[in-house]
Symmetry: C2
Subunit: 258 residues, 2 copies
């Protein structure tokens, strides 16, 4: 439901862990790496809720408190999980810029890869306090995603803004999709089923007199999506609008440097 207290992860400690070599297996085979991998597996199999220090330790057949020898706390563990997940994104740092279709094709590729990442690791969207800790894979991601924007005439700050805009759009729609899936799983009801079972209540309540447009548009969208919303459609629709908007900016800059 909400964020937990935890002890909020010391950023400097996280940085050291992220970039450290930590290759000494200890006498029970426990490693930072093995802990992080176990946590990610757990998150993907049973959701982020299941990732408690106790469960992670159980999966590794180790006492709960042993984890604290390798990881300062849960906050830092989550930081490590995130950077590890980013490692799935690109085979090499030029993957996006190799894409056809210029900067637009590259950004579409970037959006698709990030969307897939979230689809494969929905737990990433359940994290409330996302300290953007710059791990090695996050850095590579940033470099890889910026490269296709160089040479478009955009300033450095504009390149950053453009990328952030695309990424935040993907994250939003992915979060919507993950929420939808989670709710459906919890309630055991399809979105369409829910709609049918709650339509009578809604009809009585939201009379078309007070909210004519909301009724009409809501119904149109509901019929089109067979649901209250279609995140995949929102991703495509929004990305197109955003890229169109960016194209305007790029053309403007292009004219300044003919």
């Amino acid at each position: 439901m909400s964020a937990k207290k935890a002890s909020a992860a010391d950023p400097a400690r996280s940085l050291a862990l992220l970039w450290g070599s930590h290759s000494k297996p200890g006498r029970s085979g426990l490693t930072v790496r093995s802990i992080v991998l176990a946590a990610i597996e757990l998150a993907n199999e049973e959701g982020l809720d299941a990732v408690s220090m106790r469960h992670v330790a159980e999966r590794l057949e180790v006492g709960t408190m042993s984890l604290y020898t390798h990881v300062p706390g849960k906050g830092e563990l989550v930081d490590l999980m995130i950077d590890t997940a980013y490692g799935e994104l690109y085979d090499d740092v030029d993957a996006p810029s190799r894409q056809p279709g210029g900067w637009r094709g590259a950004l579409e590729f970037v959006a698709a890869r990030n969307w897939d990442l979230y689809r494969r690791n929905p737990w990433m969207l359940q994290i409330v306090d996302v300290r953007s800790t710059l791990g090695p894979n996050a850095s590579l991601k940033y470099e890889a995603e910026l490269r296709p924007l160089e040479g478009t005439g955009l300033s450095d700050v504009e390149m950053d803004s453009v990328l952030a805009l695309v990424l935040s759009h993907v994250e939003s729609t992915a979060r919507a999709k993950a929420n939808q899936a989670r709710i459906q799983e919890e309630s055991g009801m399809t979105d369409a089923e829910w709609w049918v079972s709650n339509a009578p209540i809604l009809d009585k309540i939201m009379d078309a007199g007070r909210f004519p447009l909301a009724s009409r548009v809501g119904q149109a969208a509901g019929e089109a999506y067979q649901s209250i919303a279609d995140p995949a459609h929102a991703l495509a629709f929004g990305l197109e609008r955003i890229l169109d908007g960016i194209a305007g900016l790029v053309e403007g800059r292009g004219r300044n440097r003919p």
Copy 2:
């Protein structure tokens, strides 16, 4: 850090509560309304983490379990908090469409109002499982925000998509801002201070050889924002691009119906 279990709020029960009249004060003065208001006050003063059933009850000088007479559980309470917060948005259902500047001016107004809402109620961005439960204020919000889009030539589904795109952009940037503020508060360090204190570590780590663009652009953005990111700038920049993109769509539809 992550989502909690809770019992996931029965949607039908939430709907009934949201639209119900619940005006019977009971013998200790406890009402659904008073509970929700206390919870919101608590969330704004001490953050969403502080909103536990025990704390809410304490603030109302009531036994913890008494809350459950009026509210089925914490999930439903959060639903009620959200719809109540939406009540702050518009004085009446035509506030956005009264705005000058056509649909574009109206959407800018909508974005600004939602941004302000999140700035005043940052706890709304800490909620992980946002079941979009259609309360009365949420419905009015939807109606009000759709109205300026009618007559632009967009289809009903397109109107919904356009609105969702703008709202999700505002939510993303507001979340970034709230996260930034929360981290700063927890660490007691300005973003700029953090940057200074961690720059030496980062320099050693992220050598400009491997990530030349990331280094250059990151530094440029850091200098421009005096921080790792500037959500207010991201809001304005992104909104402009998005509205430009929507303008293209609207013009296209306009030509179809001359």
